[in-house]
């Protein structure tokens, strides 16, 4: 006989991967895989939708939208589609409560524009209050940032099991990004260059309606080694479905070992 105490509500995750073919330069698949598995391991229903040129984001089926980085040439091929076809459904999805995570090229395209060293200005979506200019030097290397007191997701528990508030990753970008007044940095630089190599900030965070935009230069991949960040995104999704629910913990032993190792790397 089954115990009929409460209807069991299964949380669901609609994960949208934008331009998985063109924007997949630096292990971006690892981020999607990590979000998928961490929800799957907790028994959620997970749907991954890949949106390429020719498809359109469904704003009603997008809890987390992810976009990685691409080579300049590939970024050009998707930029037009991103700014015209996806712009309004993406904006609607975020205003509705979705989280948009953009890494590297994905981060730059969420901002107002990118001014390359040689060539014309490339417009971005302008949802994130940042601008990027091409730099003469590529910023490459290991990065550690501190996200203490940024509170970028209300109630997100970034004080992880180690008691640290660090994020670790690897950066590789020539674009230098500057934040406008509406965006806050994701964290402050402990090691590495970050947004532009001189103001000590890394990444950007901004709310839009019920939702949130996150941009960063950290790959490596980002989410596998930063399970607290992955869970902060999933917690945001869960709260929209079950306001009082908490994420059950997972065995993150290996993830923290990798995180600890990354803290010790030279920039």
């Amino acid at each position: 006989m089954s115990d009929c105490s409460k209807p069991h509500l299964t949380p669901s995750l609609n994960l949208v991967h934008l331009y998985p073919e063109a924007m997949n330069l630096y292990g971006d698949r690892g981020n999607v895989l990590t979000l998928y598995q961490r929800a799957h391991w907790r028994g959620w229903t997970v749907t991954i939708t890949e949106v390429s040129v020719g498809d359109v984001i469904n704003p009603n089926a997008a809890d987390i939208v992810f976009m990685g980085g691409g080579q300049d040439s590939q970024q050009h091929t998707i930029a037009h589609d991103f700014l015209t076809v996806q712009a309004s459904p993406l904006k609607a999805a975020i205003e509705n409560g979705a989280v948009m995570l953009g890494i590297c090229g994905g981060y730059q395209l969420l901002g107002h524009w990118f001014d390359p060293l040689d060539g014309e200005r490339i417009n971005g979506l302008g949802l994130l209050d940042v601008t990027t200019t091409g730099g003469t030097q590529r910023l490459i290397g290991n990065v550690v940032i501190d996200v203490a007191d940024k509170g970028f997701i209300k109630g997100a528990h970034l004080k992880n099991v180690l008691g640290t508030t660090t994020l670790v990753g690897f950066e590789n970008h020539s674009g230098q990004t500057t934040l406008g007044p509406k965006a806050r940095p994701l964290g402050t630089i402990v090691k590495g260059n970050g947004n532009n190599g001189h103001d000590g900030t890394e990444g950007a965070v901004q709310t839009l309606g019920q939702g949130l935009l996150l941009g960063t230069y950290l790959h490596g991949s980002l989410l596998p080694k930063n399970p607290h960040l992955a869970d902060a995104l999933l917690a945001h999704v869960l709260r929209r479905q079950q306001p009082n629910a908490v994420l059950p913990p997972l065995d993150d032993n290996l993830a923290w070992q990798a995180h600890q190792k990354a803290l010790l790397l030279t920039p």
Binding site: P20, E21, N24, L25, Y26, G27, D28, R29, G30, V32, L33, T34, Y36, Q37, H40, V46, I48, E50, Q71, D72, S73, R138, I140, G141, N142, F170, N172, S174, H219, G220, S221, P224, K225, L254, A255, Q257, A258, Q260, K261, L265
Partner: protein, 459 residues
């Protein structure tokens, strides 16, 4: 007078290089694959162009992200089977100093590179593996009439920035070569490589391709549900897509017909001429076919090509099998997603009981390890659940996390490579299967120079 001084300086630098070539290995100070060239070029900056004056008509550079060393090795083996006189830069030392070292090794005491020729009419070739960023530098030092580009896969992006940048550097290098007096050989199935055809007249370009077995497995979707987004080597039809814009005067396509033990058999489309490639891994078929394409163009007989393929001794870690404590050990270098995909294809086919992965993040490995998330390690989930994976190297934790995330259970993390090999051998005892080792470049070097010799000497 000036010229005499220059020549004297080059000869002295050559002697210094030759001394180091003898000293370094003798006193176990290294393999001496780049230092002799570096010192000699410091003493005489014009050394390379001085030796380069003797570059024969058949001087070939081999560049691209993957397969340079094996392609060069197979070609040298073929040319030697055909009784050519060959100078080359062995062991993957492919920057200018490594190339200088190779030539210093081959030269006489007065810089003559032809003194070992058995007879004047013996055909001569220089086969030089060149780093993608060094092509344009080498091309200003000596006349190069033949060039081969293997592929442009993601590799060490943190060193070069992006693939398009790498392609642009190779293009600049090719523009400085004398290809109109020779031939440019291009992997026709790699769009970025094929686009390089425009550097010279189409009659001086040969495209080659390998058509895979019809039933070649693609990465399983499995629990990840994430379709693997790899650009597979596309099967192309000779008549249409291979030659869309008449970029190539000549196309060579090799159809794989079957797996034969650790190797492959297949035939040239068109002539039907068949031969066997005794190397593991589909990627080695590409390397062998690249070498065979050059050899054919240079008039080497089919018999010599087949003989050279069979005589080729794999460069360590590029396709290496050895015996350790009575167990067969197979070692494959992994360094980027595309190459690793091909290695994993072979690994899954051998159904091993134990796999040792060694991930380092030194400059030569690429300091950014995010590539492991792009390589389809998902394939390992098709192995029986009892399969052990031992993760080692400086970034062993990252490797283990990669495999944990796709649900592999039998994982061991052991940072010390020596201990990791001990564990892997112990786990593999009585399995009756070869132990598979998949190291990145510097982990491979440590295995080769320190770890494995200790096992062979203390059985």
């Amino acid at each position: 007078m000036q010229a005499v001084i220059q020549t004297a300086r080059c000869v002295l630098a050559l002697w210094a290089g030759k001394c180091l070539l003898w000293l370094l290995p003798t006193f176990k100070l290294g393999q001496g694959t780049t230092v002799p060239g570096r010192v000699a070029r410091l003493l005489a900056p014009r050394l390379l162009s001085w030796l380069g004056q003797q570059a024969p008509q058949h001087t070939l550079i081999i560049t691209g992200t993957n397969g340079k060393t094996t392609t060069a090795g197979v070609l040298v083996s073929i040319l030697k089977a055909a009784n050519w006189h060959v100078a080359c830069n062995p062991l993957g030392a492919n920057m200018l100093n490594g190339i200088a070292t190779g030539l210093i090794r081959s030269a006489s005491l007065f810089g003559n590179l032809n003194h070992l020729k058995k007879r004047l009419s013996q055909p001569t070739a220089w086969v030089l593996e060149v780093d993608e960023a060094n092509v344009r530098l080498l091309a200003t030092e000596m006349p190069i009439r033949y060039a081969l580009v293997t592929n442009l896969f993601r590799d060490q992006l943190d060193r070069f920035g992006e693939l398009d940048t790498t392609a642009a550097w190779i293009r600049q290098g090719l523009e400085r070569c004398q290809l109109s007096e020779g031939q440019l050989f291009l992997n026709a199935s790699d769009d970025r490589v094929a686009a390089l055809a425009s550097v010279t007249d189409s009659t001086h370009v040969t495209g080659y391709t390998v058509l895979p077995l019809a039933d070649t497995a693609s990465p399983p979707d499995l629990l990840t549900l994430i379709p693997s987004r790899f650009e597979q080597a596309k099967p192309v039809s000779i008549n249409d897509s291979l030659n869309p814009s008449k970029l190539f005067a000549l196309n060579k396509a090799f159809q794989i017909d079957s797996h034969a033990g650790l190797g492959f058999t297949g035939h040239w489309v068109g002539s039907g001429e068949s031969f066997s490639i005794p190397l593991a891994g589909t990627f080695n078929v590409w390397n062998a076919i690249a070498a065979a394409t050059v050899a054919q163009q240079w008039g080497v007989s089919a018999e010599a090509i087949q003989q050279g393929l069979h005589q080729y001794q794999g460069v360590f870690g590029r396709a290496d099998t050895r015996t350790l404590h009575g167990q067969t050990v197979q070692i494959f270098l992994i360094k980027n997603p595309m190459g690793t995909q091909e290695v994993l294809r072979g690994v899954v086919a051998t159904q091993p009981a134990v796999v040792l992965l060694a991930l380092n993040d030194n400059d030569a490995d690429g300091r950014d390890v995010s590539w492991i998330w792009d390589a389809p390690f998902e394939w390992l989930t098709t192995l029986p659940p009892a399969t052990h994976v031992v993760c080692s190297g400086q970034r062993a934790e990252d490797m283990a996390l990669r495999l944990h995330t796709i649900g592999l259970k039998k994982l061991t993390v052991e940072l010390n490579l020596q201990k990791a090999v001990e564990q892997a051998l112990a786990l593999n005892t009585d399995s009756g299967k070869p132990l598979i080792m998949l190291p990145t470049y510097t982990a491979l070097t440590t295995l080769d120079q320190q770890v494995l010799p200790a096992f062979s000497s203390n059985p």
